[in-house]
């Protein structure tokens, strides 16, 4: 599968959708204003269609915009994003007939942070980063260096179970096969390291991480599963926590956010990417994902006709932990 071909097909399909009046808006990606970034493109103008791109940097989960756009929408999604849409459908936040899903079979996104660390330079100092099969080629000052993908893709992409969209109207390329267990260990390495620590050390770890949090709420606002009109942190009666970036309040915010999005989070990794102070938030969301899979054999965003995870039960649900 080839990004350029998908891009061509995407532009063709998106233009047709707009021209035939099937959608009022297209939500996709265009090249960003910085090297190796993309930015959401929300447009109703066919003139903008040629700006749509598909490449290994289409990081944002665009389903976060669905609630804010009125009318029928065409939206570009990767595997994880499509599950967010299914999750929103389960919660009745959007109507299926209002969206046309343009599915990108995804082969993983390149983690610029990892590239920077490997090369020892920041992204704007590099000439090119390109995906070539199972390798990523980084060009710096005319010199190429190659890295295997498990060193440069995002952790969540390495462990991705469903790279091809689960729900789509138009698929832009051949379905991608999941990597299976090949990169699972790398994907879950950070979580494993944490689980191997004694409880107190783990608490200390999180406390130190959340000491850095500035409470910008980017993790919450970038998240399609966080769709509350009024977040619990904004409640004043009762006031659950202070609007002050103390580690106690920061940590509590994140714990409760994770419980709230349990069963909705599809491990898209958006929160961790958005965090300006590098808090490993995916180590939280992925663990919750794992707990739900282990205890309830539930995978979020797979079936739009079932009830949301926390709004359903089985009489046979686990009782092991009950005193």
């Amino acid at each position: 599968m080839n990004h350029k071909e998908m891009e061509k097909k995407l532009r063709r399909e998106a233009r047709a959708l707009l021209e035939q009046g099937k959608v009022g808006y297209i939500i996709g990606f265009e090249a960003g204003s910085l090297k190796f970034t993309t930015t959401p493109l929300i447009t109703s103008d066919t003139g903008d269609i040629s700006r749509l791109v598909v490449n290994p940097f289409i990081a944002n989960n665009l389903s976060v915009y669905l609630a804010g756009v009125k009318g029928r929408v065409g939206i570009v999604v990767k595997g994880c994003d499509s599950r967010s849409i299914v999750s929103l459908l389960q919660d009745n936040k959007i109507a299926r007939e209002d969206i046309v899903i343009l599915g990108v079979p995804c082969s993983g996104l390149i983690d610029l942070g990892k590239v920077e660390e490997l090369v020892g330079k920041e992204r704007d100092e590099l000439d090119d980063i390109a995906r070539d099969g199972d390798r990523v080629v980084v060009t710096d000052n005319g010199n190429n260096s190659e890295f295997p993908i498990h060193e440069v893709l995002y952790d969540n992409c390495l462990g991705c179970e469903f790279p091809t969209p689960q729900e789509y109207d138009i698929l832009l390329g051949e379905p991608t096969l999941p990597a299976g267990d090949r990169y699972q260990a790398v994907s879950l390495m950070k979580i494993k390291q944490l689980k191997d620590m004694p409880a107190q050390q783990r608490w200390e770890f999180w406390r130190n991480e959340f000491d850095r949090c500035i409470r910008c709420y980017a993790c919450r606002n970038i998240c399609p599963a966080c769709f509350c009109q009024r977040c619990f942190v904004e409640e004043s009666e009762p006031q659950w926590l202070l609007p002050v970036p103390r580690w106690q309040d920061n940590l509590m915010f994140q714990v409760i956010r994770n419980i709230h999005v349990a069963g909705r989070c599809t491990d898209c990794g958006g929160c961790e990417r958005a965090c300006p102070v590098n808090i490993p938030l995916r180590s939280l969301t992925r663990e919750m994902y794992g707990i739900i899979a282990e205890l309830f054999h539930y995978k979020p965003g797979m079936d739009k006709d079932t009830a949301p995870f926390l709004a359903a039960y089985e009489a046979t649900d686990t009782e092991d932990f009950v005193r």
Binding site: E204, W206, N208, L241, M252, E287, V322, R323
Partner: protein
């Protein structure tokens, strides 16, 4: 810490567990006195916010009590509570909170004895891990310096 008496919340559902607690009291069953009962209409009324807020305020634990599965006054409330508590407990454990601090149990209106037994067990559990110092500032930090 021989004299340490854990303080924890017992969030009792109105229809079963609260009556069970009442029965335990009326029958003068002996149990440790460190718990405080808050009556809620149903165990599914308990939000994760409450549990974490309670731990943040320094309580040593939170015990949620509801009707036995199948006996919920609202038919299914305790099933939802069970799911929610399962993930809350496991997740907090992953964060580094001792699992003994967050517990769920079923106590019916006629189970005064069981209420006392659960309270005794939870008290013992928490005694085993000691007072809640999770959210206090003084305990050992990584020696990291931030800008003053």
């Amino acid at each position: 810490m021989p004299d340490y008496e854990p303080k924890f919340l017992a969030l009792c559902c109105n229809w079963c567990s609260y009556a069970g607690a009442d029965l335990a009291g009326v029958s003068r069953v002996q149990m440790p006195p460190g718990f405080r009962v808050i009556r809620v209409m149903c165990s599914s009324r308990v939000k994760p916010e409450w549990i974490i807020r309670a731990l943040m305020s320094g309580l040593d634990g939170v015990l949620v009590l509801g009707c036995h599965p199948g006996d919920c006054h609202y038919q299914t409330g305790n099933y939802y509570a069970r799911r929610r508590m399962a993930i809350t407990k496991r997740f907090l454990e992953y964060m580094g909170v001792e699992p003994q601090r967050v517990q769920l149990s079923w106590v019916s209106a006629s189970e005064g004895q069981k209420f006392a037994q659960v309270i005794t067990e939870v008290t013992k559990d928490i005694k085993g891990i000691g007072p809640n110092r999770l959210f206090t500032d003084e305990s050992q930090r990584n020696g990291k310096e931030t800008a003053p």
